[in-house]
């Protein structure tokens, strides 16, 4: 129960940080880090696939409603949540992700970093290319992706580390 409340708190904190802090930083057209995807990253690795889809959709919905984006965040985050088990497999080389002994904090740091990069890039690639809706400005969109993801990956790495060290392991 307490664990569920912790995750609910992280969910709210990330959505609020995204909307009230990150979205208010108007630095450049290339700076649009999508940090709320950290929630999908930090969900336990043994989360049943159906809950992955439901939580990811709810996360996207929350951000969509608060920012007025019509369905774009739901689309990107649901796809990311659905594909997360495959990304975990990809970076860890594990055959099955439903291995309950596998936990986020047991991942070696190198794998952990690749896992964050894979999820962030997957999510933002769907988001930015869907937003642009064409390959006409391909390099412009690519640059947005690289700049925004670099910031997002650094932020998410420390956010998830902090969450694991200070809350999950306590």
């Amino acid at each position: 129960m307490q664990k569920n409340l912790t995750y609910a708190g992280a969910f709210l904190a990330l959505v609020l940080l995204q909307i009230f802090l990150v979205d208010n930083i108007s630095l450049s057209v290339y700076f649009h880090p999508l940090i709320y995807v950290a929630f999908i990253i930090m969900l336990p690795l043994d989360t049943p696939p159906v809950w992955m889809v439901v939580w990811s959709a709810l996360l996207g919905l929350m951000v969509d409603v608060m920012t007025g984006m019509g369905g774009l965040n739901v689309f990107a985050s649901t796809a990311t949540g659905f594909l997360r088990p495959y990304l975990v497999n990809l970076v860890t080389g594990h055959a099955g992700v439903d291995d309950s002994s596998m936990a986020l904090y047991r991942l070696p740091d190198k794998n952990f970093r690749w896992y964050i990069i894979a999820v962030v890039v997957m999510h933002s690639a769907i988001y930015f290319f869907m937003e642009a809706l064409s390959l006409h400005h391909f390099f412009h969109t690519l640059l947005r992706l690289v700049v925004s993801d670099a910031v997002a990956v650094v932020f998410i790495y420390y956010f998830v580390k902090l969450f694991i060290e200070k809350i999950l392991k306590r």
Partner: protein, 286 residues
């Protein structure tokens, strides 16, 4: 039957995933900036207070620069006022000019009404950016009002209002369109943003007969009904004739710094409704 249930049990996550993606995609495909503005103005009824205080903190740090801009603008307007006062006095002495029209009627003859608002949220990092203002229908803000900076530069127009907030479609939104022209020339082109730089917009379809030089001032042409004629948009940075040799494509450096906006002026074209009704149904009016 059992096999079917077993099959569905195995793929129900995929089905749920496809269903959610289908709904989201459908909603995204059918959402225009009007629906986005509607959702955003509703959301701000809840979150507007927090947004407002965050922007308040940011605003505090730009007060100095803003005061200087306002002082300059006041000086300019004082100059203009003096000019009009003089004209007014001349007109009063000329009994034929304004005979029978008292001052109250003269004020109501003006086509535009002005009001001010403060920005509570603004983004430049999306392809379809929107700005939220802390004024809504209860403060007299209505849809289609033009939005300009305190120093008179084009920002956008209002596309949605709730009771206390309104949402603006800024020039930095790929759906934004208006007409512009080179100051001192009557040929006009279409202004839009390509999504690349927050400091530049494009003017396309400007007649090849237009008199254009780098550095020329680009102003609103007054054809879109939102903006009065002559609102400053920016300056010509570069231009090139298109492939069919019929018109210019112009890169315009924006006059307003869209990344540092705090206060705005809203302009209502009082005749807008009448003009729109006439355009939509021209025959029945005659």
């Amino acid at each position: 039957m059992y096999k079917l249930i077993e099959f569905l049990r195995r793929i129900y996550v995929v089905l749920l995933f496809l269903f959610i993606e289908g709904v989201a995609l459908n909603f995204y495909a059918n959402s225009s900036y009007y629906t986005q503005a509607k959702i955003l103005s509703r959301a701000h009824s809840v979150a507007g207070g927090v947004q407002s205080s965050i922007f308040g903190v940011k605003h505090y740090f730009t007060l100095r620069g803003e005061n200087e801009t306002l002082a300059k603008r006041v000086a300019e307007l004082e100059g203009e006022l003096a000019y009009y006062r003089e004209n007014d006095m001349n007109a009063a002495t000329d009994s034929l000019t304004m005979e029978g029209i008292d001052s109250a009627v003269r004020v109501s003859l003006s086509q535009y009404r002005y009001t001010t608002a403060r920005i509570i949220s603004n983004s430049i990092s999306r392809s379809r950016n929107l700005i939220t203002l802390n004024r809504g229908t209860m403060h007299g803000v209505v849809e289609d009002m033009a939005v300009i900076s305190p120093s008179g530069m084009m920002i956008g127009y209002v596309i949605g209002c709730s009771e206390r907030y309104s949402v603006v479609l800024p020039i930095l939104n790929m759906d934004f369109r208006t007409s512009g022209k080179i100051l001192g020339d009557e040929h006009f082109g279409s202004i839009s943003w390509s999504g690349n730089s927050p400091y530049k917009v494009e003017m396309t379809d400007l007649s090849k007969h237009a008199d254009i030089e780098i550095g020329d001032e680009v102003v609103s042409a007054g054809l879109s009904h939102y903006f009065p004629e002559g609102i400053k948009i920016g300056y010509v940075e570069s231009y090139a004739i298109n492939d069919t040799q019929t018109s210019y494509s112009v890169t315009v450096r924006l006059a307003a710094d869209m990344t540092k906006l705090n206060n705005v002026i809203l302009i209502e074209n009082i005749d807008y409704g009448e003009i729109k009704a006439l355009e939509n149904n021209p025959v029945s009016e005659f």
